[in-house]
């Protein structure tokens, strides 16, 4: 695992403002900063696909930059 890029710490499914399920992704940046971002279904499934996982439970440890792939 590289330490010079943002890494996914956790991914939790939660209802968003509009009642649709969202993926709440916690990140750790290389400088130690923590961040949390909510993804809608399209982006959430895209992240899972680009990280090569079929369950959100397998996202922790994957590089956050993968979300950019294919966008």
């Amino acid at each position: 695992m590289s330490h010079d890029e943002a890494i996914i710490l956790n991914a939790v499914v939660a209802p968003g403002h509009d009642g649709a399920a969202e993926l709440v992704v916690s990140l750790r940046h290389p400088n130690g900063g923590l961040e949390t971002v909510s993804l809608d279904a399209e982006l959430g499934f895209h992240l899972m696909k680009s990280c090569g996982v079929s369950s959100a439970a397998d996202l922790p440890g994957k590089p956050w930059r993968r979300i950019l792939e294919g966008l």
Partner: protein, 551 residues
Amino acid sequence: MYDIVIRGGLVVDGTGEAGFAADVAIQDGKISKIGPSLAAGRREIDAKGRVVAPGFIDPHTHFDVQLLWDGAAKPALEHGVTSIVPGNCSLSLAPLKAADRKAVVGMFQQIEEMPPEAFTIAFDWTWEDFAGYRDAIAKTLSVNVAPLVGHSVIRLFVMGPAAQERTATPAEIAAMQVLLRECLEAGAVGLSTSFVDVDEKGHPVPSRYADSEELDALCAVLGEFDRMLQVVPEFYATDITIARIDQLAELSLKHKIPTTFSPLFDSRGNGDNAPRAIARVEEQFARGARVWPQMQTRPIDLSFSLLRPSLFFARLPRWVRVLRQPLDQRIASLSDPETTDKMIEDAGPDGGLAMFGALVLRGGDAAPAELTGQTLAQIAEARGQGCARTLIDLSLEHGLDVAFLAASLGHEDTARIGPMLAHPLVHIGASDGGAHLASFATYGDTGYLFSEFVQKGHLSLEAAVKKITSDTADIWGLKNRGRLAPGWAADVVVFDAKGLARGEERPVFDMPGGGMRYTRDAVGVDTVLVNGEVAYADGAYTDARSGVICT
């Protein structure tokens, strides 16, 4: 003789002071006197055992379209809401050139989920300027309306299609300033903008193309009138929200205006979100800025159907694979016993009882109406199936158009949210009344404030009333509203303190063209008066049309 006397109730006057037993006399649309044993009224309202409070004020709604055929903004009024603020999130129905109506209708449909017929058969579109819209709704109002003007429509009016393509030139910004000034002079109580919303094609709404110079210039005009800037920040990312709080604070300080942002909610998986945002708000208020976070009272339900892939299944790989297939392939897979046996196996040894059993059938879709409100566990038991099998089979039987609801999965922890709602800098709002029609009911948040947070001791009765009456009026600068005091507008709600609540969510088909929406009935509200006239009593709306454009 007074016009109306509300007799013998517990007067909770909106100031936060302790309630007291008194009569409330009303004359010529205003509170005339409050005290014991007042003289008779032409109409007497018995309020013994009831609370008599100022009408509630909802600062975040999207009733802009509905007001054109329903001046009561049903069911808002029956919940005790006597004043509403439409025009939030950068969208209003004026100022708007005829040529731009189609574009704005698309944006409204994206946000409000209102059927197309609402824009074609329900009203005559006669106006282009803000005063014209104001006059169009003012004829039949039963509630008071304090309208915002939307940044997106101002931009569209000045720039045309370029409003969704680029930043504005100095000349265009100057023209927007002139237009905003006209709207404020015509009764707008502020400007709304959005950094988040998209139109029906997924394109950012016009306000999102504005640069900081444009927003600053518009806030300068708001400063001339001491009017509100309402903002939808990037609420899905806490750090960006905090950056927006700082931006709003600078605008507030520079132009001496109040600002508010919405929504702010407590989220599973991001428990720091609301506390961090509130802490930043405290810091900015300490500097003298006014940045009011709006927080809703109701929990957030999660809803889905198998028509579209939902992240609800994000931890079930086989379900994800099937549900992300194109519709025809998805239906074929869900009809294949070998595939579904494996999916059901993944749902747990109990057949999905723990995972899916508490899901509720929402209704308003292709499922039989008699199943509305039942849990999947109940339906599965009646069918003699497991829950996962029932979820799949029931969906298949109705073309996958079966909506399921997982109740209270977000913003649901009363012990966390209660203290936030009670915080003096947290503005109770963000109901979104009149929006998300086909997704969930945006009504009854006021009742829920009392049934959940007052009953469980997080706010006193008086504090809760103050939060949604005088606090709201003061934040928005609404004159002579939000308190029960002689000379103030007679917007009054009479309710049962212990019984005030919201009804169960249910689908109704009362939109133009028979369109569906989810709604909630009021519980525990006896009487609602707007400007001294009884607008709702004994479970029914009256013919009163005493609502006004209020500023």
